[in-house]
Amino acid sequence: MKKIWIVIVNILIMASMVAFVFVYSNIENKRTINRQIDHFQSGTVTMEQVTENYLEGEQRICDVWANYINSEDMTIQEATSFIHISHVLSYASAHLIYKDTLTGLSTRESIIHPGDYNVSYSSIGLFGDMSWIDSNIGESINISHAYTNPINGEQSIAFCNFITLSDSGNPRDAILLRVLPVSELMRKWVFHKEFEKAELSIIDMNGDYIIQGYSYENSNFFEFYRTYNSTSPASYQELIKTITTSETAGTFMMNNSNRESCILSYTPFGAGGGWIFLSMMPEKYLNVNTENWLLIGVVSGGLVALFIFDLIVMLYFNKRLQISAEEADVANRAKTKFLSTMSHDIRTPMNAIIGLTTISEKNIDDKKSVKENLHKIELASNHLLTLINDILDISKVESGKLNLVPQTFSLVEMVENLMNISQPMIKEKNIDFNFRVSKVEKEYLYADVLRLNQIYINILSNAVKYTEPGGKVSVDLIEENSQKPNCVRLTYIVSDTGIGMTPEFMANMYQAFSRQTDSRVNSIQGTGLGLAITKQMVDLMEGTIDCQSEPGKGTTFKVVLDIPVAEKQLEEMKFDKPIDVLIADDDEVLLNTAVDTMNSLGLNVDIARSGEEALKKSKNRHNEGKDYQIVIVDLKMPDIDGIETIKRIHKEIDSNTPALLISAYDYSDVEKSAKDAGASGFLSKPLFRSTLYNKINEILGTDTKVIEQENDNSDLQGINILVTEDNDINWEIISTLLEMYGITSERAENGRVCLDKMKEVEKDKYLLIFMDIQMPEMNGLDATRAIRKLDDPYASNIPIIAMTSDAFSENVAECLNAGMNGHIAKPIDIKLVLKEIRRVKEESKK
């Protein structure tokens, strides 16, 4: 439905409702008015009866007087005297006038001529026609029109009777008038309060006022009506007829002299022959429920307000829907793009895996080719795994389900891990790599180490990935005081001399699947999700991530995080007595940070910026008889490298000086030559305080200790592990891999089997248990909980490491909460597996 129609329908509904309220109110008002009018009419009738009773009473007094005068053959003086004596009311008077002359005597003296009781009605005009006076006394009420009392000037009415007086012994017709001020009658006219504005009049059949209320104008009511009301002659005559002939009360509307609409009620006046009692009141004084207008106003206002509100809400929701629709459209397009991208990104390594597998099967006898293919398959598989992990991570991030699972971790171990992961590519691309730490006092921190690792790895791997072979990548990890309580501020800066980014790309680089369009980039494998995940995780950790980049010059990422310090910290590390140490490196920054670190350990540090300088300084100290107690030499230096330097120190100066080789690279390739040169050990960059402390202690304790054989797996021989795995292939893979390192394993097909085995296990039969999570009958979590409850202390305390495809951090947390001791995600990295086995073995020794 079009918007305009909705508006029209709304307006029509509102108009209908308002119209209904209006009509209903009007009907109610009219009913109320009609009720009021009926009430008013009844009041008029009541008032007429009150008036009639009053007038009848007064007339009866006049009748009594008249009867008495007639019966006593009185002269005018005698009659006047009699009435004067009978007067009770101070405002009342009586006039006795002869019919022929209309003059006579008053019971009260003239107000302007004191002592004069003569009265004349000759010009008053009351008695031109005397037919309104009934000859039979007591038969009717004979009231005059209101007139001006000639004795006192007051507007008065007179109750009359014919009497016969004695005049010089002869009877003479006269009229007896009992005169009362009109004001006295009006005083009786007290309407009910709601009609207090009503005014009364009495008119005769001609419309002439007998008594005229204030608001009644003209000398004739009908004249008054015609003056202020538009009427045709016919309806005017009809009105006169209705009023003058009606035997019952009636009401009609008319305008008064102010052109106000008035109610006029009329009722025949029983006391006067053919007189009509009138009552008039402006309609505005009717007690009509005017709140109805308020009701209409409120309803109208309410409806309009509701309409406007609905309109605004409707528009708002329409806008929201529009935005949602657009977002849905964008999301849909993104999904399509995502699926397309995923299809491409998954098919590419899958193509390599399947293709190379087929090639290998065909050339199974060509060992070199098979080895080469397997290496490529491994690379493709790793990429595929990264892609899947990233997709799952971004999915969780975007759905808001990514939760941090903090745990205590070693910063040193984390950096070592970081180094290990990045080393292969650094090595492969022959990148000049540096990793420096500065002011790291607290090595144990409390954070979600997996996510922290992920942040650092993503940034570092991007730097390595997008730096051309022979380029330079440097990492700085700085620990500072944080403003957050119990936290340190870790600043992680990765700078490279890679391809850099354009400002346009940087504007959207944190969006998923964004990869710079560049011929060089296209040749690099990537999901386009790494930075998006990194940014989300930094935000989740309430940190900041900044980037400065210039195409062709390189990029610098800086991540700042406030991370809580773990309760567990290393004991105070300081040598009891000063030890003279020479450190040689061409990296000025590393030298500065190393000097700081070593000074804090209580070492006397001397520095050399090259191998030659190291030799020179060693010679000088040797000649002074103060040989350095340890010499630490960087592997890669511009003039002579670290191995050569050690070799020459030992050969030319002192063959017993302990020498440590430091490197940011994997030193497995140079291990043998270093050993041959007399190196006492290796130190991986960056140089952590604890690493230095432990290594120097170790060197000074066993001077001749040779470099550990990193690839020596003899320590793993004889270890037996219980692997709980329901999937046959997975079981085959893990058991085969373990077997390759001399580790034996037994299988439990599910949690139940594992539990049963542990119930009957002999002590020290297994070093640990690798536990799958999702299994039939009993899952890994339940099995772990059950094992932890076993009575046998060995069984209940056996290390259990999760080995599962549930790789999210909350899955890790779930495993640890169930009582497990570690977590390895599938697909398994055998290096991590071995590291975990060694860790367990070391802990079991303790």
Binding site: I111, Y147, N152, Q155, S183
Partner: protein, 425 residues
């Protein structure tokens, strides 16, 4: 150049009009209330009018300033002259009452005059200056004339047109027109109330303006006329001659005129019959025409245009006898005298008095008189033919003499000479 001149002329004209508006707007005497608007009281006005809607309209206007003041007009029953003294002394004393100039001239009405407040008292701030001097001069500032009136005749203009005759503007034309009408079958081209001697009857209305004109320029004559002294009779000859000449020329037929039983309502109703070319009448009779148009079936059936013209008693036209009509006095012994005077301050303004005159269809008593409606012909009377008897000091005695003698001349009871001789008797 022409364009510049036109522009300058336009600007000048506009400025002139604006200044005219400022000067003649009449807003200078605008009423300004001076009492508490919440005052509760009542003011009662009595008179001899059956009703007085024009005054009541002023009540409503006054109530806009003082909503709680109840104003009421009441007719006094009986003979007003006889009753007003009693009413003024009564328990319900009126605040304002109708008064007449003759009350000042007759000792019998001294008690009434005694009740009259001096409206010229500066403390009252009643703007008497808005009233024409000739109307106010003679009443010693004890009365305020609500209207002005004159002596003239209602003219049926359509009838003149129908008969192909011109409305007369000179004495000879009057005689000729009457003759022409008579020849066309109109037995009484001039009509008027003639049944009794009346201040405003046919004869008085014809004779009085001529009499005033005769003595107006002679203070001695006025003094003699006022006395009345028989020596003033000769001054009145012209007045009696006018009546006599009209009679002799059969301009009016008394039998016809005597069919009119009263000198107000029936005069108008007879005129509205449509067959009377000229109806002589005075006082406020013309004011009653408008209201009665709709009461006359003959007029409703055959409406016609009419006007109130001066009777052309001279070769140069007729007279405008500027006379006060319907005077009000304040009863200085009434209750609520302050509010009563406040009402008088409201009433005695150009605005209120002109509005009343317009509504009543009478001439205004103010200096800003405008000859509108049926009074337009009086606007043509030159100042030399305009007289204000009261302003000249001519008393009611003169009119009484003229009324009596002119009636006799008209009815044939006296000749002109006898009437002249009888003046002052």
């Amino acid at each position: 150049m022409k364009k510049i001149m036109c522009t300058l002329m336009t600007v000048f004209s506009v400025a002139l009009l604006a200044s005219c508006n400022k000067g003649g707007g009449g807003s200078s005497d605008e009423f300004a209330p001076s009492m508490d608007a919440d005052t509760h009281c009542s003011i009662r006005i009595v008179g001899d009018y059956d009703n007085f809607p024009e005054l009541m309209n002023r009540f409503k206007e006054f109530n806009a300033y003082y909503p709680n003041v109840q104003l009421n007009y009441q007719k006094i029953s009986g003979n007003y002259k006889e009753m007003i003294a009693t009413v003024l002394e009564g328990n319900d004393k009126p605040n304002i009452f109708f008064s007449s100039t003759w009350m000042l001239e007759d000792e019998a009405y001294a008690s009434i005059v005694n009740h009259m407040e001096d409206l010229s008292d500066s403390s009252l701030k009643i703007n008497l200056s808005c009233i024409r001097q000739g109307l106010i001069k003679s009443v010693n500032n004890l009365m305020v004339p609500l209207f002005g009136r004159s002596y003239g005749m209602l003219v049926n203009n359509d009838l003149f047109e129908k008969e192909g005759l011109e409305v007369p503007t000179t004495w000879n034309e009057l005689l000729s027109v009457c003759s022409a009408f008579r020849e066309k079958g109109y037995t009484s081209p001039l009509m008027g109330y003639s049944k009794k001697e009346d201040n405003c009857g046919l004869m008085t209305t014809i004779a009085y303006p001529a009499a005033i004109a005769s003595i107006a320029n002679s203070p001695d004559a006025i003094e003699l006329a006022n006395k009345p002294d028989s020596r003033a009779g000769e001054y009145m000859r012209a007045a009696f001659n006018a009546v006599d000449q009209l009679k002799k020329n059969n301009c009016f037929n008394l039998t016809e005129c005597d069919s009119i039983d009263d000198n107000y309502n029936l005069v108008i109703m007879r005129f509205f019959e449509g067959d009377v070319p000229m109806m002589v009448c005075a006082d406020d009779t013309p004011s009653g025409t408008r209201k009665r148009e709709e009461r006359s079936q003959a007029f409703i059936d055959h409406p016609f245009s009419y006007s109130y013209n001066p009777i052309p008693l001279t070769d140069k036209g007729g007279y405008f006898i500027d006379t006060p009509s319907k005077l009000l006095s304040v009863n200085k012994y009434c209750e609520n005298l302050d509010m009563t005077n406040e009402f008088m301050r409201f009433l005695v303004t150009n605005k209120a008095l002109n509005a009343m005159a317009y509504e009543k269809n009478l001439l205004s008593s103010t200096k800003e008189i405008s000859f509108e409606s049926i009074y337009a012909p009086f606007g043509d009377v030159t100042p030399e033919y305009t007289y204000s008897p009261e302003g000249l000091g001519i008393t009611g005695t003169v009119k009484a003499q003229i009324r009596k003698l002119a009636f006799k001349v008209a009815t044939g009871a006296m000749t002109v000479d006898e009437a002249v001789a009888a003046y002052g008797e």
